[in-house]
């Protein structure tokens, strides 16, 4: 008897040393197209500004050439900002893809784990109470996000964590944090309220190397971790019992996925504020472009970087002399695209 291996259509076998599997051709095409577009946006964004540098010179400077003035503008002023946008986008998108798969809910985003709202509470508290000189808004946001997510996880623990209960407790705890944010906003002076509102909209405008370095370190550790959980994610998208039957150690796998998602979101929010919509929309867009049963991780990372860097470019060039918060533009760009994908899919299937 010979066993017949049935390969799903549209997938090609790949092998790297002892690890092998199949890769969807469509995902590879979408991912590569996304990478090219992201690179184009990045170069254009660096070249564009109050002092325009031709794209050719930008590439030259990035590769080590260029004049001293070009080096200053490209490497010290504009590169950190675009890198922050790329990294934040990738982190949020992967965090969202992990959360949506684990919670088995397309509406889930890191918000339901309490990270975003907790980070907002930390940051707004520091802004309104005037402690920003002591602890710094990014650090307050990071602490707020991680503490809140820990509280959610601990409260959801009853001889193991059930995903459904975790989500319900997450929205409860998240709501307490939002209540706190609103309370601070109402009792704040209007100047502080405005500052807090700007932070709450999310922005990478002030990013410099001091913010990019920790963020990129976090991503270098966390993105491979996220991809490593992909094998268990494949099983986690089914019911808990099915996942167990498939040989997944449920609590361990869930904890790894939640921890990775929380850490990615916390790193991103602390660097740029809550750019909430990215974590929801990018995995859904990636899922619809690539097909499959759950949001793809790597393509989500690429498209997240593309969305946030593109939105940042629009945010700083759309209105002369004034910058929009990037968090607003991500929704204005991303939402219509998702709506169009929904309408198109509806037409085809009905």
């Amino acid at each position: 008897m010979t066993a017949t291996l049935v390969r799903p259509p549209g997938r090609r076998p790949v092998a790297a040393g002892p690890i092998g599997g199949t890769v969807s051709v469509r995902s590879v095409v979408v991912g590569l197209a996304g990478l090219v577009a992201t690179a184009a946006v990045a170069v254009f964004s660096i070249s564009h500004g109050s002092f325009t540098i031709p794209p050719g010179d930008v590439v030259d400077t990035l590769l080590g050439g260029g004049t001293a003035a070009q080096k200053l503008i490209v490497l010290d002023l504009r590169l950190p900002r675009i890198l922050a946008a790329l990294l934040v986008g990738a982190a949020l998108a992967v965090s969202g893809a992990l959360t949506q798969t684990f919670a088995r809910n397309p509406l889930a985003s890191p918000d339901v784990l309490g990270v975003t709202n907790g980070a907002s509470l930390g940051a707004v508290a520091v802004i309104v109470l005037g402690g920003s000189s002591v602890i710094g808004v990014p650090l307050a946001a990071l602490a707020g996000g991680l503490i809140t997510a820990t509280i959610v996880y601990v409260l959801a623990w009853r001889r193991g964590v059930d995903g459904y209960r975790l989500v319900l407790i997450g929205i409860g705890v998240g709501e307490i944090a939002i209540g706190g944010v609103n309370w601070f906003l109402v009792r704040a002076e209007i100047i502080d309220a405005t500052r807090a509102t700007i932070w709450l909209n999310g922005s990478v405008a002030g990013a410099d190397w001091d913010q990019v370095r920790p963020l990129s370190t976090a991503l270098v550790v966390l993105l491979p971790l996220a991809v490593a959980t992909a094998f268990t994610l494949q099983a986690l998208q089914f019911e808990d019992d099915v996942a167990r039957a498939l040989g997944v150690r449920l609590q361990l796998a869930q904890a790894a996925v939640v921890l990775t998602a929380v850490a990615l979101a916390a790193a991103a929010v602390s660097a740029a504020g809550p750019i909430e919509f990215v974590a929801f929309v990018v995995p859904q867009i990636a899922l619809r472009l690539c097909g499959g049963s759950r949001p793809p991780l790597v393509v989500s990372a690429v498209l997240g970087a593309l969305l946030v860097s593109g939105a940042d470019l629009v945010a700083r060039t759309a209105l002369p002399g004034r910058e929009l918060p990037v968090g607003l533009v991500t929704a204005i760009v991303g939402a219509p695209y998702l709506l169009w994908l929904l309408v198109r899919t509806n037409r085809r299937t009905t």
């Binding site: 809910n105 397309p106 509406l107 889930a108 339901v112 409260l155 959801a156 009853r158 059930d162 459904y164 209960r165 989500v167 319900l168 407790i169 929205i171 409860g172 705890v173 709501e175 307490i176 939002i178 209540g179 706190g180 609103n182 309370w183 906003l185 109402v186 209007i190 309220a193 405005t194 509102t197 700007i198 909209n201 909430e276 919509f277 929801f280 929309v281 859904q284 004034r322 929009l324 918060p325 968090g327 607003l328 533009v329 929704a331 204005i332 991303g334 939402a335 219509p336 998702l338 709506l339 929904l342 309408v343 509806n346 037409r347 299937t349 009905t350």
Partner: protein, 344 residues
């Protein structure tokens, strides 16, 4: 010998649904009376009775009850009923525990319209009502028509995703209008927190018919919603007209949540948690869940409003903040119980 295998003995989770319904009616009544009695000045039951039955124009108790507390309490009752029922409907129709009554774009549409109203120089809470209602209506209409395919109507997933996308788009527009306009932000930030205070009798009278119609539609929609919970195809095979049931349900949500948001600002969170709490009492049957969720919503909102009046006397804490501070911890405790999580 064949060994008989007995299923493992499990303590059944018994639910006394009639008992829960009666208890909730009593709770709403008590909350109603408390809301009339407590505040900056505490009134005795006798004083309330006289003020309601035999008003004496000269007495301060009559003025407090009839002019201030009665309109506010009636409004709280209406809004609580509306949000509780709308939340249960919305979670049923999207089959999603994260759905809140504002998900159809209602909160975001209403907020957007209110900011436009502020920019046009409309002032006063009553002035915002019709703007908010119109915004909620237009936004949810857009969500429904985008989510619906050519035929068959929207599926739970497309409804939820389209709602989320439209909401995000509209709130981005709202925020970008506010970010350059401190004066509007200063007005808007009080509207957006959500509160029952400062709304006179006319607000309650204006939204009451919409909420009544919405509640009737919601109750009528319950049996169909039970069938839809089995999946659209199964429901169709059982003889349900899926598109009609979906349309009735969404119309009810728009009437209920639209009127509530117009009257009190976006307090959608109430409609997110209350159905989960009610489901723990009644189980997933919508014929019980929708009335119980409505009553639980009313009781919760009235109690939160009373607490908001008491903690910082004689000033007030906004209802939305009290709900987050008191309602959310209670909800977390409930969910942590063994039988606390009833899946959709």
């Amino acid at each position: 010998m064949v060994a008989t295998v007995r299923p493992a003995r499990r303590a059944p989770v018994t639910r006394n649904r009639m008992g829960a319904l009666i208890a909730l009616v009593v709770a709403v009544f008590l909350a109603f009376v408390l809301s009339l009695a407590l505040g900056a000045q505490t009134l005795s039951p006798a004083e309330i009775w006289h003020a309601v039955i035999a008003p004496d124009p000269g007495s301060p108790a009559t003025a407090i009850v009839r002019d201030l507390r009665l309109p506010r309490t009636v409004l709280g009752l209406l809004i609580g009923l509306a949000l509780g029922a709308a939340g249960a409907l919305m979670q049923g129709h999207t089959r999603n525990p994260l759905a809140d009554p504002g998900l159809l774009g209602i909160s975001a549409g209403a907020s957007f319209a209110v900011v436009i109203a502020i920019q046009f120089g409309v002032t006063g809470l009553t002035g915002y009502i019709w703007f908010a209602f119109a915004g909620a209506l237009l936004a949810s209409l857009a969500v429904f028509s985008i989510a619906a395919g050519r035929r068959g109507g929207p599926t739970p997933v497309t409804l939820a995703l389209a709602g989320m996308a439209i909401s995000a788009l509209l709130s981005s527009f709202t925020q970008s209008m506010l970010i350059s306009d401190d004066a509007s932000l200063n007005v808007f930030r009080f509207w957006v927190v959500g509160s029952l205070s400062g709304r006179g009798t006319e607000v309650a009278v204006e939204v009451a018919p919409f909420i009544a119609a919405g509640l009737i539609l919601a109750l009528a929609n319950a049996p169909a919603l039970n069938a839809l919970g089995l999946g659209d195809d199964v429901a169709r095979a059982l003889g349900q007209r899926v598109l009609a049931a979906r349309t009735v349900g969404v119309t009810a949500v728009v009437l209920l949540a639209g009127a509530a948001t117009a009257a009190c600002g976006p307090i959608a969170f109430l409609g997110l948690i209350v159905p989960h709490a009610a489901r723990a009492l009644t189980g997933p049957d919508h014929r019980w869940l929708i009335p119980c969720s409505a009553l639980a919503g009313a009781a919760t909102l009235l109690v939160a409003d009373v607490i908001g009046r008491l903690v910082v006397r004689p000033a007030e804490l906004q209802t939305g903040i009290v709900l987050a501070a008191v309602g959310a911890p209670f909800f977390i405790l409930l969910v942590r119980r063994r039988a606390g999580v009833v899946k959709l």
